[in-house]
């Protein structure tokens, strides 16, 4: 039995654990064994600590023995994107500049996860500082897509998606700044949710773009994703941007909202060039499915869609240029071997030149430029204003509909290296996901089919803080299909 534990859902596993049919040690060992068996191929992990994971599992088993289970995640191995601070564990952001960094503190979502008894499992690969859509920008390793190893897993949470897809973790945490949870979830055939901005604390999430970043859950089922969201959500006094609003019971909501006749909007700007969009086929079938349930489907308009990528790349890079200034070779990051000690600035130039990869350099340079004197109004201020227009588009659309249905990504996972020469073409692959970050709204990606043997996702964009609704919508689709039980052959 234990050989397949790693592919069971958290919901099923927590039942088995509660009934003492399995132990967390057994489950964790199964995940560890699976990881050791396949990670040479998938390369999802930057690092992991077997002993530490088993020790956590033992504690969980001891709790259950005492009848003190902390809930549905108690004893479940959760993979952690290498962008979240876990006390006494490495935090590399897949960057050379943080290669030796060990965090002296826990992120808030990690504290919450610990309080829910989860077994924190490993450090998952990503695009360096979450900058990318393919995990090719990692300084550590190149993660493969478990469905087709020479394809990218998506990014930036590529390791988080690949690990869950390949059974190397039951669920995982990712972060999403412009699609970094939803797009890799789509590419790896799993569920991923970007919460509303402010739903999950960013304290302990190494910042890429502060006004866009959110930590979020990834899992093989909507239920698992909901349970993980449950454990990390809520207001945090350590994050001024976290929102004071009640956290509903997501798992319960999935049941309660079952069968509701939703009104869905299809943003016409997203569907205009449908014939060029490879992933459109399965998405259209998914739309038909909702119609068959009696849901209403309406066309809506997001008139400023064409400006989202440009807006995003100004806002995100400007914030990043400032957020990443702290990686300087002074306090805790890589310090260049050699620099001109007589020029007090050279330690920065050389450490950062050695420590950052190309994509990070490119974005830091772009962000520095758009903020620099004489350009602020033309770029940064302009982008902030356009951001307002994009937000309003969504507010308008949500007057008439409960949620929007769109593809998560224009195409399934592409071959490694396909976009490496042309950053702009890579940026443009984020068109469906980026706007949700600009508007701060939640988005879910659910597997909805295959194109060329690779999974593609349906994106459901919801109203602010209506994660419960989009989870219920996603669950409706998931329960009527068998995608959650289909795994890559590794």
């Amino acid at each position: 039995m234990s050989a397949e534990l790693y592919y069971k859902s958290a919901s099923e596993l927590s039942g088995l654990l509660d009934r003492k049919e399995i132990s967390s040690v057994e489950l964790t060992q199964s995940v560890i064994d699976r990881t050791k068996a396949v990670d040479d191929l998938v390369q999802a992990f930057n690092s992991f600590d077997e002993e530490n994971a088993l020790a956590q599992a033992e504690e969980s088993d001891a709790r259950r023995k005492r009848g003190e289970s902390l809930g549905s995640l108690d004893g479940i191995p959760v993979g952690i994107k290498d962008v979240l601070a876990v006390k006494d564990q490495p935090l590399t952001c897949s960057s050379k500049i943080l290669a030796d960094f060990v965090s002296p503190y826990d992120a808030t979502c990690i504290q919450k996860l610990k309080r829910s008894g989860a077994v924190l499992w490993g450090r998952l690969n990503m695009d360096e500082f979450a900058m990318g859509s393919s995990t090719e920008n990692s300084a550590t390793k190149i993660t493969g897509n478990p469905w087709k190893l020479d394809c990218i897993p998506g990014g930036s949470s590529g390791g988080s998606a690949a690990a869950v897809s390949a059974g190397e973790a039951i669920v995982s945490l990712g972060s999403d700044t412009g699609g970094s949870i939803r797009q890799p979830a789509s590419h790896c055939g799993i569920v991923g949710l970007k919460p509303t901005y402010g739903r999950v604390s960013r304290y302990g999430l190494a910042a890429f773009a502060s006004s866009l970043d959110q930590v979020g859950p990834m899992g093989r089922t909507v239920w698992d994703t909901a349970a993980l969201l449950q454990s990390i959500s809520g207001h945090d006094p350590n994050d001024s941007t976290s929102y004071r609003i009640d956290v509903p019971d997501y798992v319960q909501a999935i049941e309660q909202l079952k069968g509701r006749k939703w009104t869905f909007g299809l943003p016409k700007e997203y569907f205009e060039n449908a014939e060029d969009t490879a992933s459109m086929g399965p998405v259209k079938e998914a739309i038909e499915f909702y119609k068959s349930l009696g849901c209403e489907i309406k066309e809506v308009s997001l008139p400023h869609t064409a400006y989202a990528v440009a807006t995003y790349y100004i806002v995100a890079t400007a914030e990043a240029s400032s957020n990443l200034a702290r990686y300087d070779g002074i306090r805790y990051t890589h310090r260049a071997e050699s620099f001109d000690a007589k020029d007090s600035v050279d330690i920065y130039r050389q450490s950062r030149a050695e420590g950052f990869g190309n994509e990070v350099k490119r974005r830091v340079l772009l962000g520095t430029y758009v903020l620099s004197s004489g350009y602020y109004d033309a770029y940064y201020l302009k982008a902030q204003k356009t951001r307002t227009l994009i937000r309003r588009d969504f507010e308008e659309a949500f007057r008439d509909v409960d949620a929007l249905l769109t593809p998560t990504a224009p195409s399934p996972a592409f071959k490694r290296g396909a976009h490496s020469g042309d950053p702009l073409s890579m940026y443009l692959s984020d068109i469906y996901t980026i706007s949700a970050n600009l508007a701060g709204i939640p988005g879910l990606s659910v597997p909805c089919g295959y194109v060329d043997g690779l999974p593609v996702g349906l994106q459901i964009l919801g109203k602010p803080f209506k994660e419960d609704e989009i989870l219920a919508m996603g669950n409706e689709f998931e329960s009527a299909h068998n995608f959650k039980n289909e795994h890559p052959s590794l």
Binding site: A85, L91, A107, R202, Y203, A206, S240, R326, I330
Partner: protein
Amino acid sequence: MEYEAVIGLEVHVQIKTESKIFSGSRSGYGYEPNTLVDPVVLGLPGSLPVMNKTALDGIIKAGLALNCTIPDYCKWDRKNYFYPDSPNNYQITQYDQPICDGGFVEIEMKGETRAVMGSHRKVALTRIHLENDVGKLNHFAEDSLVDYNRAFTPLMEIVSEPDMHSGAEAFAFLTAIRQTMIYCGISDCDMEKGQMRADANISVRPVGQKELGAKIELKNLNSITGVKNGIEYEIKRQTQELKKGRTMTQATWRWDADLGRTELMREKEDAHDYRYFPDPDLMPVRIDDEWRERIRCEIPELPFDKQRRFMEQYEIPYSITSVLVPDWELSEYFESAAKKAPKCAQAIGNYVTNDLLRELSESNTALSECKISPDGLLSLVEVIEKGVITKQIAKDVFIEMFNTGESATEVIERKGLKPDFDEGQVKDWCQEAVDENPRPVEDFRSGNEKALNALLGQVMKKSRGKANPQIVQGLLKELLS
């Protein structure tokens, strides 16, 4: 040609709080290096700032006390620059929407003598904003060491208009700010501890010229006197240069207090490009009338107002008020005695500013530890007024009171200092003195008023110091007329 200097000051003042401006690490001075740090203070990946409410209250209080407008809305911006003392390599500050707008500082120039009040004027402020302090660099021969204890201490930057013209005005400006901050409990403004720091912008131009001369920024002004001396030196230097026909270029100079001169730090570099933008990690602040009023109520009477009132209400001289008022506790001490006996105010003021301060300083005691209460002091002044004891004896009584904490009457009783004779006895002593000392009697009668002192001394001796000198003098004059 005549030249004039135009001076603006940027004054950084730390706000006294328990914790840092954006995190829960303690604020403090004199701790072991890197002990007052947490993930925010070190700028660790993932750390996020959260505003300290007391720091906001503090700057609003400062702004109201310095006559600023407190706008309804202010926000936080990042000022991006790389420096080892800056944990994030950006400072969280306020760029275009500071918390305090405009305002002015009332200053007092030195009077002709210490007994005379100097002239007062208002120095205009541009703004006051709030920001995080940075760490401290310790310089060694080969390298520098960074201690981040100071980083993220709440820091106000008070920016004046170029509205001063001399080192003395700058001195008066800083003194006034310091006293206001201390009065309001916002900061102790101890420059040695870096709680107050000042940079000056100085330019010199020919009198009558409209546009300002080249701006020289003066740094390393480590004391209020240093500010005055540095500025005066700089004005002299720049004026001499101009007189020699040289042109000044914008640059940063530093004051060397030991050598008593300024030296060039750097010529005007490329203008800084700080790439300010709104800090996405912090929410803006909205301030309503209720908040402003709540803070306004916490502002005590300010030093110059108190001084003017003391002079008027208690009719005490400027020289006394100028000792009392700069020390808030001392002035409160004075007033709690004086308001019960306004007629004795001057005597109380004298005791406080002379005897009390002397004893406190000689015994190294803080006023808060002083055994004489304001009421105790008042009781002493009253027994003197009533003529129960002489001023001479009162001096000793005061010291006894200071040492033991007894009341004046207790000391007088215990030491038997009350006169044990009546006025008839004093008259007899006066007659004896006149009879026994023909020489001074003669001198007095031939017009030497001072000769009376010798007779007075004799009478005082006979009374063992207990007779009232004023009464004795009167009796002697009567006898000799």
